[in-house]
């Protein structure tokens, strides 16, 4: 914990998303809303294209933090675990049928609470240069 500093970037990662990713997430999560895999349905309801599930973006955006927690500790164990995670869905991620889309995640220490033994990690999550999640905050309970 003492090694962490507010403002420190703990993880950065880019995730490619394709239509395959959306179908896979639909099956894994049970969210079969067709706006996440059918162009005709997306167009019918006035969307600019097939969208990634907001929960896919949320679930993917926390992974760099999980990797950091599990990789930053020594062989004896992990640095901590995710005990709270919240986001606002501010902009949809349109996934092109051929080009797909990218989700870019930067995870930075936002706040340290020595008494509670927690660190708040703030995520910046963007796609195509635009922020797609707001107030994306991960609370890590440190081991």
């Amino acid at each position: 914990m003492s090694a962490l500093e507010v403002g420190q970037v703990v993880a950065e990662k880019t995730y490619p998303l394709t239509r395959d990713s959306l179908v896979r997430y639909a099956g894994a999560s049970g969210d079969f809303n067709p706006i996440h895999y059918r162009d005709d349905v997306a167009a019918e309801v006035g969307l600019p294209g097939v969208l990634a599930h907001g929960m896919l973006t949320m679930g993917t955006a926390v992974q760099p933090v999980v990797e950091w927690l599990e990789g930053a500790g020594d062989d004896a164990g992990v640095l901590g675990w995710v005990s709270d995670y919240q986001v606002r869905f501010t902009r949809p991620v349109v996934v092109d049928p051929t080009a797909g889309a990218e989700i870019v995640v930067v995870a930075k220490v936002g706040k340290l609470d020595d008494e509670a033994g927690t660190a708040r990690i703030d995520l910046t999550v963007s796609s195509g240069g635009q922020t797609v999640l707001g107030k994306a905050q991960v609370v890590v309970t440190l081991a």
Binding site: S29, M55, L56, G59, E67, E70, Y85, F89
Partner: protein, 150 residues
């Protein structure tokens, strides 16, 4: 939307048994490379009983409770106009494969904002011993007009 929904507590959803392969499937679908979610030996070596579910896994369990809300006859929620606004998970401990979770939904807030309605629903999930594991909170926005969904 019916403002009387605020404060309504739904009957518990049928218990959800967290399967090992479901944890792996969900982990892979969300870009996880975590040995704790994919490799049983690694999870046990780290002190867990079985595979550790990714941080947003509870959405799978929450789904049945949100379906209860959307199906409520007097709720007046038009599913085709629902947009996910916010989501939060607050965990007392990680979910692990083998957990049997019972989720109970409470509507914590109903608001109207510029023609749109916003409903916040909290699903409290407990293990077989009745201990709190995770609370999943969703804010759904029900759009008033035909703007594009998010």
């Amino acid at each position: 939307m019916n403002p009387d929904l605020q404060g309504r507590v739904f009957p518990p959803a049928p218990p959800y048994l967290v399967g090992r392969e479901k944890v792996r499937e969900f982990a892979r679908a969300t870009g996880s490379t975590s040995p704790l979610s994919l490799d049983v030996e690694a999870a046990r070596a780290a002190g867990h009983g079985d595979l550790v579910a990714p941080p947003t896994f509870a959405v799978v369990v929450q789904e049945a409770t949100l379906a209860q809300l959307l199906a409520e006859p007097d709720a007046g929620i038009d599913f085709s106009r629902v947009v996910h606004g916010e989501q939060r998970f607050s965990l007392s401990r990680p979910i692990v494969a083998g957990d049997e979770l019972t989720a109970t939904l409470t509507v914590t807030s109903v608001k109207t904002l510029g023609g749109n309605a916003m409903v916040t629903a909290s699903s409290d999930m407990r293990d077989v011993e009745g201990r709190h594991v995770v609370t999943a909170v969703s804010t759904l926005v029900v759009r008033a007009d035909d703007e594009a969904a998010a």
